[in-house]
Symmetry: C2
Subunit: 90 residues, 2 copies
């Protein structure tokens, strides 16, 4: 069955405290080549049947309205079985 | 500057309560074509300088030891500027 992957990241202009904490830990471990860490979410949705244009439209709507909080997050990628459907907003 | 993306998902054999909740909400909304949802994490790490084999070895180690909890999570993908380095364990 096809799997749709939706990737969501905190907006670039907002602080990401979780990512900052990991970035700080890396710096303390002496791994200074890694300058910035941001942490987002990855949704894997299994689809019954085939993925057509309406499925993609629906998943795009769900990604914007339900999976992400558009005030603080961006949907950065939607892929169907590894093929990028669209870079919604990077 | 190059960006490394590390994708982490809960292990397939474990329950993912957060994903189950979203899957249940989809079913209640009548979106029964989406049969299963699992939710993982996406790390974006910005690298100062170039990415060579040692950087990749280091990020792989960090992904296994620091970004993920190997008891309950798998590192499913590491990409450098959009190019898959390795499907670590799918």
């Amino acid at each position: 069955m096809p799997t749709i992957v939706v990737e969501i990241m905190p907006k670039a202009e907002l602080l990401d405290p979780q990512g900052k904490a990991v970035g700080g830990a890396l710096a303390r471990l002496g791994k200074s080549q890694f300058s910035s860490v941001r942490i987002g979410k990855r949704f894997e949705v299994v689809v019954d049947g085939t993925v057509d244009a309406s499925t993609i439209a629906e998943i795009r709507e769900l990604a914007e309205d339900m999976f992400s909080n558009s005030v603080i997050e961006d949907v950065v990628e939607i892929t169907v079985d590894g093929v990028a459907v669209e870079a919604v907003s990077a």
